[in-house]
């Protein structure tokens, strides 16, 4: 079998994640979906690194994880403070560009 299938899988996961971002209202779930998309990308990178036979792809994936970690930290912090201020984690409630 050809590692290109990993790419198909990545594409699939990415799309699912994106769709999730669009349809879910709960900010936390939205975040998870973002994570899912990131992971899909990582998978693609890894697969590519295998295809090209060098490690740069993995490096990028690694950095992606780090950045994802940072992003999650900040994002969740935001969600928490949001929840504190309005007792809901729905992204639709934040439709007024202000808290």
């Amino acid at each position: 079998m050809n590692p290109v299938y990993y790419l198909y899988l990545a594409a699939l996961l990415f799309t699912i994640g994106a769709t999730g971002v669009l349809i879910r209202r709960n900010a936390i779930v939205v975040f998870m979906c973002v994570e899912l998309m990131l992971n899909a990308c990582n998978l693609a990178f890894v697969a590519f690194s295998r295809l090209h036979g060098n490690l740069d792809g993995q490096i990028i994936a690694f950095f992606t994880m780090v950045v994802a970690a940072a992003e999650v930290v900040v994002g969740l912090a935001i969600i928490v403070s949001l929840f504190r201020s309005r007792h809901s984690a729905s992204v639709d409630d934040a439709s007024l560009m202000k808290l």
């Binding site: 994106a18 971002v21 669009l22 992204v91 639709d92 439709s95």
Partner: protein, 648 residues
């Protein structure tokens, strides 16, 4: 010597500047300054005149080039003066009569707190008028032309608190503007035809231009002349212009400004000679006006308006003569000068009468004044004799010549024009006699000044002043007023003879205007006799009407013609209905259109855009997720695009 020319204009201009900008501190001395500077320019005029006399008949043209005024491409207008016999004649007339009238005004305007301003305006007028006759190109002439228009506007409206005066002033300026339209178009035509509009080049290269263009230019010049000289159909302003102080009427609306049209036509003689059609138009206008004015003059009870009518008709004579071409120019100018004398004299007389009668202008409230103001009576009488052309007085010489020339035109035109001129002479005799009798003879109708004034549009100024004093006390005017009248009387008596006998004037002007003897179908003697007869008839009728029977204090209803004539032969009504009303409606509707249509279209588009944006705004619902959708869609599109690119 020619460097003096500029001073002619400069002196009164300086006066105007000083008096108008000087402020109240000059109220004391203002009138003296004004008069002095007017006199100065007269003296300079005399000096130059003597210089010209000293020269040969052919090099009597002085030029002074001050500086290039508007040089743009082929368009060259200079501030340059040209003094030849024609201009000289006018200079002397203008500055001479002007000075006299300055002197007269000292007395006449004594009690007006704005006298300084009045003299400033008078000086301004002198400067403009001198510029008009001294300019050596049409554009500079145009400056003078409008300048006198402005001066007359200011002077007619001098008593601005009177709405009638303000309106009259505006009317005068506007009608003049219509004339100026003609002048400026004429200048443009000259520029396109000759590439210049300086007198010399234009008049010399007339031969090269097509007659069509020349006719057009001529007609435009005629239009200008009509405006300034109150010829039909632009005469309507002159009557109202009598709202101004009487000296103004004497100086501007009798002696000088209104003759500018004649000057223009004579000055462009060469051009008219080459355009017979235009000439014919000129003669027709002249003939019509001289009758028109005369008829109006017969009907007016306001002494000044009666005189205004006569002015109109006298200028009609001049224009007629000028239209006759080389056979007429000289006599046109000659009549112009003599008319300048006696008409100014008559107006000053009228002013003096009004002065004595608390500014009463209605002749029906005069009568028997000869005992109370003898000097006025005598001078006015001499002027009267002069204007009706009493043998030996100046009017006789000049007018007679014109009538002859009119016949000399030859053909039916000649007969028609000549006949008109003769008829005009008769009517002149009639209305002048009427004025004379109503004013100085008969019962003293002012004794019981209680009855109301005839309801006649031209009587408001009188109405304003009536009732101030129950009964006027006629008295002779101060010396400052009588002296000018006496001088002018002299002029009106002897000028004609001095010019006419031995053709002095003819020889003087001929180099400029050119002259040719017309071959009159009827001998000069015949014409003279005919004139005399008609004169006697006209005067006689007037005597029978007003001398024998007492003059009713209230104007009788009169015949249809009379009533029409009282209303300036319905000219004003016509203007009002057609121009004023029409114009008002036009502007009103335009204002409406501008608000609704022009503005509406734009606002409409704006509104539709607003609606559109209102729809689009719905997309911006603030939900992060719907933004995300569009982002995602965009991303998809981009991917699609890249794939397509790579596929292609």
């Amino acid at each position: 010597m020619q460097n003096l020319i500029a001073l002619l204009v400069a002196a009164p201009l300086l006066g105007a500047a000083v008096l108008l900008c000087g402020g109240r501190r000059l109220d004391r001395s203002g009138h003296l300054i004004g008069t002095l500077l007017a006199a100065v320019s007269f003296v300079i005029g005399v000096v130059l005149f003597s210089d010209l006399l000293g020269r040969g008949a052919d090099d009597r043209t002085l030029n002074q080039h001050l500086f290039s005024w508007v040089p743009v491409g082929g368009f060259r207008a200079d501030i340059a003066f040209q003094l030849d016999q024609l201009s000289m004649t006018f200079v002397l007339l203008i500055s001479g009569v002007g000075t006299l009238i300055h002197i007269y005004s000292i007395g006449y305007m004594e009690h007006d707190e704005r006298r300084r301003r009045f003299f400033g305006y008078l000086n301004l007028f002198l400067a403009a008028m001198l510029l008009l006759v001294l300019a050596d190109n049409y554009l500079l002439l145009y400056v003078g032309w409008e300048g006198v228009g402005l001066a007359s506007y200011l002077l007619i409206g001098f008593w601005q608190h009177k709405p009638s005066a303000a309106t009259a002033a505006k009317k005068a300026f506007l009608v003049n503007r219509v004339g100026d339209l003609g002048l400026s178009i004429a200048i443009m035509l000259m520029f396109t035809t000759f590439g210049t509009f300086a007198f010399g080049p234009v008049l010399h290269s007339v031969g090269d231009a097509g007659e069509g263009r020349l006719t057009a230019i001529g007609l435009m010049l005629l239009l200008a002349a009509c405006g300034k000289s109150a010829q039909v159909p632009l005469q309507s302003w002159l009557g109202d212009a009598m709202e101004g102080p009487t000296p103004v009427s004497a100086l501007i609306h009798a002696a000088t400004m209104v003759t500018a049209g004649v000057y223009l036509i004579t000055r462009s003689g060469a051009l008219f000679n080459a355009a017979p059609t235009a000439q014919l138009a000129v003669t027709v206008v002249g003939a019509v006006t001289l009758l028109f004015g005369a008829i109006v003059g017969c009907a007016k009870d306001d002494i000044k308006k009666a005189l205004a009518g006569s002015t109109m008709s006298q200028i009609g004579y001049m224009v007629l003569a000028a239209g006759l071409g080389p056979i007429g120019y000289v006599f046109a100018i000659m009549h112009l000068v003599t008319h300048g004398f006696f008409k100014a004299g008559l107006f000053l007389g009228a002013g003096s009468v009004m002065h004595g009668m608390n500014d009463e202008v209605d002749m029906r409230r005069y009568g028997g004044l000869r005992k109370h103001m003898p000097v006025t009576f005598v001078t006015f009488g001499l002027g009267y004799l002069a204007i009706i052309g009493f043998p030996g007085l100046s009017g006789f010489f000049s007018k007679d010549k014109i009538i002859e020339a009119a016949f000399a035109k030859g053909g039916t035109e000649g007969w028609v024009l000549g006949g008109a001129a003769l008829l005009g002479a008769a009517i002149t005799a009639y209305y002048m006699t009427r004025v004379m009798i109503m004013t100085f003879f008969g019962a003293e109708r002012w004794r019981n000044a209680a009855t109301t004034s005839p309801d006649e549009p031209s009587a408001e100024p009188a109405a304003e002043h009536r009732g101030e004093h129950a009964e006027p006390h006629p008295h002779e005017s101060p010396r400052s007023m009588t002296i000018p009248m006496i001088v002018l009387a002299f002029g009106s008596v002897f000028a004609g003879a001095f010019f006419g006998i031995g053709d002095r004037f003819l020889r003087w002007l001929e180099p400029v205007t050119g002259h040719q003897e017309g071959n009159s179908p009827v001998g000069a003697a015949t014409v003279t006799i005919a004139t005399m007869v008609l004169l006697v008839v006209g005067a006689g009728i007037a005597y029978l009407q007003y001398g024998r029977r007492p003059v009713p204090a209230v104007a009788p209803r009169g015949s249809l013609l009379t009533r029409a004539a009282r209303r300036d032969l319905l000219q004003d009504d016509f203007n009002h209905v057609v121009l004023v009303r029409g114009g008002e409606h036009l502007t009103r509707s335009l204002v409406y259109v501008d608000h609704t249509l022009v503005d509406g279209v734009v606002n409409g588009t704006a509104a539709s855009f607003g609606g559109l944006s209102g729809r689009l705004r719905r997309l911006q619902n603030g939900y992060a997720r719907s933004y995300a959708v569009s982002m995602f869609g965009g991303a998809a599109l981009i991917v699609a695009a890249t794939l397509l690119m790579r596929a292609v």
